[in-house]
């Protein structure tokens, strides 16, 4: 009984620091606890490859849809976007269910490709694929889509490694509320395009 009381007493101790060794010990606790939690987190199986494939599909369908400039092309574009959003949403949901945590930094990198590698590769690949689709050079569309998907997945992988190394510095990102706002804005943008087109 005395042992339990002692443990509880230690846990709630707020005595002033007596020496720098105690401060170092507390700093070590502050550094180690988030790393230990992050070390126990697991990504859903195959998240990066599946994400890469979904992004490749989204780039190819977007390039095709933009180049066609028809209702059918727009439908293909929206279908590719829907597949990507579904894959990303399922991946994030599985991450939360497996680990019992929500990490907004992961959502930002999976859904928005907010890292430098992912965003630069994605934009370059989309531009190349769109140009190729206008020129009807379909093999270039395919290659650009694959490169874009691989770059996006690699960017997410890089972020995950950085997060595991220093979780507190990489945990923050776009909140679910902000993601919902962006989704609403995207829908409004598409609606405007449809009306204007």
């Amino acid at each position: 009984m005395w042992k339990v009381a002692r443990i509880l007493s230690d846990m709630e101790s707020t005595a002033p620091l007596q020496d720098p060794d105690e401060a170092r010990s507390l700093l070590s606790v502050a550094d180690e606890a988030p790393r230990r939690l992050a070390a126990g987190l697991r990504l859903p199986t195959g998240l990066h490859p599946v994400l890469g494939i979904a992004v490749a599909l989204q780039i190819a369908t977007a390039a095709y849809g933009i180049a066609q400039q028809t209702a059918a092309g727009l439908a293909v574009l929206l279908a590719g976007l829907a597949v990507f959003l579904l894959v990303a949403a399922v991946g994030l949901h599985r991450f939360r269910r497996i680990n019992g945590v929500r990490v907004d930094g992961l959502a930002s990198h999976v859904l928005l490709g907010s890292g430098a590698t992912a965003s630069v590769t994605y934009l370059a690949a989309l531009a190349a694929a769109t140009w190729a689709a206008f020129e009807s050079v379909w093999w270039v569309v395919a290659v650009a889509a694959v490169v874009g998907g691989a770059g996006y997945a690699f960017g997410a992988h890089q972020w995950w490694r950085a997060y595991r190394h220093d979780p507190a510095a990489h945990a923050s990102g776009v909140s679910p509320r902000m993601l919902a706002s962006l989704a609403v804005l995207a829908c409004l943008g598409l609606a405007v395009l449809l009306v204007v087109g």
Binding site: A23, A30, R97, R102, A171
Partner: protein, 95 residues
């Protein structure tokens, strides 16, 4: 200049707060298991930190059962930053 914060000075509280700095939100049971403490000890710390405005609590559900999610508030993140800075300064002064 930031001072040591008595609310998160205790090792268990500091572990709880720093663990939560690694995520946006976590299930109560996930953090409890990571810290290897009992439900009652964890509840006590969470209540104290919530009352201080350092944590937010949200009820959710997972696989049909009710769960409690906890996360650091902006005030909690600032308190942690200030506390760690105060600890570092203390070491620097002595060194």
């Amino acid at each position: 200049m930031a001072e040591l914060d008595p609310l998160i000075h205790a090792p268990a509280r500091l572990q709880l707060v720093t663990s939560l700095s690694a995520v946006s939100e976590a299930e109560f049971s996930t953090v409890r298991d990571a810290l290897d403490v009992s439900d009652s000890v964890m509840s006590k710390h969470v209540s104290a930190l919530t009352d201080a405005g350092y944590l937010h609590i949200r009820k959710g559900s997972r696989a049909g059962r009710r769960t409690t999610w906890i996360g650091l508030t902006p005030a909690g993140r600032k308190a942690l930053r200030d506390h760690v800075a105060a600890l570092r300064r203390l070491i620097d002064v002595v060194d």
